[in-house]
C-alpha cells in the first residue's frame, strides 16, 4: 500500500521539530548559562553575598550605595566620554579606509591584511604594546611629536590625557574589524546607482553624499550599535594600562564590577553594578534604535 503524501501542515511540523532538535544545545546552553546566570545575578543584587556566605537579603542597599558613590558616577562619565571619543572617530576612519580599499589597486589584499591584523591580536597584547608606544620618556609617540615641536605628554599618568590615549588604542585595535564590515557594505551597493548618477552629471562628492552614505547607513547603524554596547563595557585597556587611574580618570563601571567581585568578593554589590550598566546600555541602545528611523535608509522599504 502506498504511503499517503504528507500534508503541508505535517511537513511544517516535522521541520519545526527538526529545527528545535538542532537548536536545542544552544538554547539549553543560553537558558542555563546566560539567562540563568542573569536571573541569579539579579537576585544577588539585592543581597549581601560574598562568595562564601549564604546571600542575605538587604533590599535596595547595594543599588543606593552604588548610585550615590562618587567613584561609580565618575566611572559612568568616563565611559560616556570614551564612547564619544572613540566610536564616531572609529566609524569615520573605518569608512574612509574601507572606501580606499574598495578601489581596484594592485596589492590591495596586502593592505587589507595589514589593517585587519590588530583585530586578531588580544587586547592585553595590544595594551602592552601601546604601553611602550605611550611611554612618557621613551615612547615612540612622544618622539614623533617632538619632531614637530610638540612637548612630550605623559599619556598614561595625566588625568586629562589618559582617556584620549585609551580611545586611541581602542580605535587602532578595533578599526580592522570595522573596515571588513564596511567593505562588505560597500560591495553590496549596486554599481547601477553610480552609473545612473554619472549619467545625471553627479560628481564624486555628490555620489558619496547621496549614494554611498545613504546605502551604507544600515551598516553604520550596525557598527554603531555594536560599538556602543562594547564601549560601555570597557575593561581590558584600563585594567592593563592604567588600573583605572590616575585619579580615577580611566575607572569604568566594568572595572569596578571586576574589582568589587574578584578583589573584595562583594558579589552583591558587583551584581547591582552589572544591572545598572545593563540598564544604561539598554537605554542607550533603545535611543539609538529609535533615532535610527530618522537616518537609516533600508533600500527594500
Amino acid at each position: 500500500m502506498n504511503k499517503s503524501p504528507k500534508t503541508r501542515g505535517s511537513l511544517y511540523r516535522d521541520h519545526t521539530i527538526a529545527a528545535w532538535i538542532m537548536l536545542a544545545p544552544t538554547v539549553i546552553g543560553m537558558v542555563i548559562f546566560t539567562f540563568g546566570a542573569m536571573v541569579y545575578s539579579f537576585y544577588l543584587g539585592f543581597t549581601n553575598y560574598s562568595l562564601i556566605n549564604i546571600p542575605k537579603f538587604i533590599g535596595f542597599a547595594n543599588y543606593s550605595r552604588v548610585l550615590t558613590s562618587d567613584i561609580f558616577q565618575k566611572s559612568l562619565v568616563n565611559v560616556t566620554y570614551y564612547v564619544i571619543l572613540s566610536i564616531p572617530t572609529s566609524i569615520a576612519m573605518a569608512l574612509l579606509i574601507a572606501m580606499l580599499m574598495n578601489m581596484k589597486i594592485k596589492g590591495i589584499t596586502l593592505f587589507r591584511t595589514i589593517y585587519f591584523t590588530p583585530a586578531v591580536a588580544s587586547t592585553v597584547v595590544v595594551a602592552m604594546i601601546w604601553g611602550t608606544v605611550l611611554n612618557y620618556r621613551y615612547g615612540i609617540l612622544n618622539r614623533l611629536l617632538s619632531l614637530i615641536g610638540v612637548a612630550p605628554v605623559d599619556w598614561l599618568n595625566t588625568p586629562q590625557w589618559t582617556m584620549p590615549a585609551l580611545a586611541l588604542v581602542a580605535i587602532w585595535s578595533g578599526i580592522g574589524g570595522n573596515i571588513i564590515i564596511y567593505l562588505a557594505g560597500l560591495k553590496g551597493i549596486p554599481r547601477t546607482l553610480y552609473e545612473a548618477a554619472i549619467i545625471d552629471g553627479a560628481g564624486s562628492w555628490a555620489a558619496f553624499r547621496h549614494i554611498t552614505i545613504p546605502m551604507m547607513t544600515p551598516t553604520i547603524f550596525f557598527s554603531l550599535t555594536l560599538g556602543l554596547i562594547g564601549g560601555f563595557q570597557l575593561f581590558e585597556l584600563p585594567y592593563v594600562l592604567t588600573k583605572g587611574g590616575p585619579q580615577y580618570a580611566t575607572i569604568t563601571p566594568v572595572y569596578q564590577i571586576y574589582e568589587s567581585g574578584f578583589t573584595y568578593f562583594e558579589m552583591g554589590r558587583a551584581s547591582a553594578m552589572a544591572w545598572i550598566v545593563f540598564a544604561v546600555i539598554l537605554v542607550v541602545t533603545a535611543i539609538n534604535l529609535r533615532l535610527s528611523n530618522r537616518w537609516v535608509f533600508y533600500a527594500g522599504r
Binding site: 562564601i52 620618556r137 574578584f262
Partner: protein
C-alpha cells in the same frame, strides 16, 4: 563443630578484618594550591613524594599557578566549593584578610594548642600577628617575602669607593649612594644606574612610621598622609625617584615586561629594592658580589620599623581533612624548608619558624650570614600589613588620588597634591560602608 574450631575460625576472621583495614585503608588526597613558576611545581612534586613516603595514606596534589591567575581563581574556587584543602596565602594583598573575614579559613589555634610537638612561640611574633584576626589564627606562617631590602652590587660600591651600608644608614645616605653609583658617558648618557626602587609600598610605610606618622589613623577614619611629617616622606620619595637622576623610568621595565631585578643581574645597576624573594634569583647569576641591607632609616636616630609581609598556609573551612592538612603544613614549614635551604640558591622567603631561621643552613644560605642576620632582625621587629578590608580599599583610594602620581612622575608640589587628595579620601572614608 567443636568450640576450638569456632575459636580458630573467629580468630582468623579477626585477623582478616585487621589486615584488610590496613591494606584497604582509605587514601586521603590533600589538594594544595600555591603560586610560583615551573620550578615551584617541580619542588612541590618532590615534597609530595617525600611526604607520601612518610605517610603512605596521604597523597598530596599540588597545583602551582602564576600569582595573577591564583588571585583570580581562588575566590571562584571558594565560591564553587572546589577550594583546595590547603590554601597558600599572604598578607601582601587584600586576599588573606578578605577570605579570613568571610570564614574561608579554619582557625588553627585549637590545632596548635593540642599539638605536643610545636607551639606558637616557635614562630616569629610578627608573622603570627600578621595572620591573627580577632584572636583567631587563620594561617600558619611559612616565611616572610618582605620587609623590603636594598640589594647592592658590592663590586660597584667598591669601584665608587663607597663603604657597604649598615642598617643604621639613612635616606640621605641612600640618595648619596644612588647618585654616586650613577655613571654617565661624555655625552651625558647613563651607562650605569644608581638605583631601582619600584616596590614602594614597604618603603613608604616604613618611612612614615619612622617619621612618627602613617597613612591613616588607627580607626581608618582620617587620612594622615597629608600631615607635614608625611609630606616630608612623600617629597623625599618623589625626589629620589624623579629628581635625583639616579633612577631609570619604571615604565620602560613595565612596558618591556622585564623586572628591574633582571636588570640588576646585568651588573649595570648599583642598588635594587625588593623583598627577600629575589635572593635565589640573584644567587643563580654568579657574576658579581652582592649583598642586602635594610631599607635605610628615614632619619638618623629614629627607631627602625620595617613593614612586614608574611606568606603561609590556611586550611579551607570546607576541607574534609583538616587534621591531615594541619599535619602536612606543619611538616612543610618545620621540615621541608630546612631541606630547601641546603640547596645552592636558598629560600625565597625568610623562615618564620624560629628554629629554621636560627639554623646554620638558613644563615649560610644565599645571600650569606651577614645579610641573613639583618633580615632575621627585620622580620623579628617588622610591623604587619593592613588587617581590614576598609584599609586595603582606602589604600587603593590613596593610590588613585596621590600615590600613583607621586610614585610615577616628578611632582612639583607634592604637598598640594596630598592636600587635594585628603579632601577626596576623607569624603570616601566618611561615606564608606562595609
Amino acid at each position: 563443630m567443636s568450640r576450638r574450631i569456632w575459636l580458630a575460625y573467629g580468630m582468623a576472621m579477626l585477623l582478616i578484618v585487621a589486615l584488610s583495614s590496613q591494606i584497604f585503608a582509605e587514601k586521603i588526597t590533600l589538594q594544595v594550591w600555591d603560586w610560583g613558576d615551573i620550578k615551584s611545581q617541580e619542588r612541590w612534586n618532590q615534597y609530595a613524594e617525600k611526604y607520601s613516603a612518610i605517610n603512605p595514606n596521604v597523597k598530596i596534589e599540588a597545583k602551582v599557578l602564576d600569582f595573577g591567575s591564583y588571585m583570580q581563581k581562588l575566590p571562584v574556587a571558594i565560591a564553587g566549593g572546589t577550594a583546595p584543602d590547603i590554601i597558600t596565602t599572604a598578607t601582601e594583598t587584600s586576599n588573606f584578610v578578605t577570605v579570613a573575614k568571610l570564614g574561608g579559613f579554619v582557625d588553627l589555634k585549637p590545632f596548635i594548642e593540642k599539638d605536643t610537638e610545636v607551639s606558637l612561640d616557635a614562630w616569629q611574633p610578627g608573622a603570627i600577628s600578621s595572620f591573627t584576626i580577632d584572636g583567631k589564627l587563620y594561617a600558619l606562617p611559612s616565611g616572610s617575602n618582605y620587609p623590603d631590602m636594598v640589594w647592592y652590587n658590592a663590586d660597584l660600591l667598591d669601584k665608587a669607593g663607597l663603604a657597604y651600608p649598615t642598617p643604621k644608614w639613612t635616606s640621605d645616605d641612600f640618595l648619596t649612594y644612588a647618585t654616586k653609583l650613577t655613571k654617565r658617558d661624555a655625552g651625558g648618557k647613563v651607562t650605569q644606574w644608581g638605583l631601582c626602587m619600584f616596590d614602594l609600598t614597604g618603603v613608604y610605610r616604613q618611612w612614615l612610621w619612622e617619621n612618627g606618622t602613617s597613612l591613616f589613623n588607627s580607626s581608618i577614619t582620617e587620612f594622615t598622609g597629608a600631615s607635614p611629617k608625611a609630606k616630608e616622606v612623600f617629597e623625599k620619595i618623589n625626589h629620589i625617584l624623579f629628581k635625583s637622576g639616579a633612577v631609570p623610568d619604571a615604565g620602560v621595565f613595565e612596558a618591556a615586561g622585564v623586572p628591574s631585578y633582571e636588570f640588576f643581574s646585568t651588573g649595570k645597576l648599583g642598588m635594587d629594592v625588593w623583598g627577600h624573594w629575589v635572593a635565589p634569583r640573584f644567587a643563580r647569576m654568579n657574576k658579581f658580589r652582592w649583598a642586602g641591607v635594610s631599607v635605610p632609616l628615614f632619619k638618623a636616630g629614629v627607631q627602625h620599623m620595617p613593614a612586614l609581609d608574611v606568606q603561609g598556609f590556611g586550611i579551607s573551612a570546607k576541607s574534609a581533612h583538616k587534621k591531615e592538612a594541619y599535619e602536612f603544613i606543619k611538616w612543610y614549614i618545620t621540615q621541608s624548608l630546612s631541606d630547601l635551604l641546603k640547596g645552592p640558591y636558598g629560600s625565597n622567603v625568610v623562615p618564620a619558624f624560629i628554629p629554621v631561621a636560627n639554623s646554620l643552613d638558613w644563615l649560610k644560605s644565599p645571600p650569606g650570614i651577614a645579610t641573613n642576620m639583618i633580615i632575621n632582625n627585620d622580620v623579628k621587629i617588622g610591623r604587619p600589613n593592613p588587617a581590614t578590608v576598609k584599609e586595603w580599599k582606602a589604600i587603593d583610594v590613596f593610590n588613585q588620588y596621590a600615590g600613583t602620581t607621586i610614585f610615577s612622575k616628578s611632582v612639583d608640589n607634592v604637598g598640594k597634591l596630598l592636600d587635594e587628595a585628603k579632601v577626596k579620601i576623607e569624603k570616601w572614608l566618611k561615606e564608606y560602608k562595609d
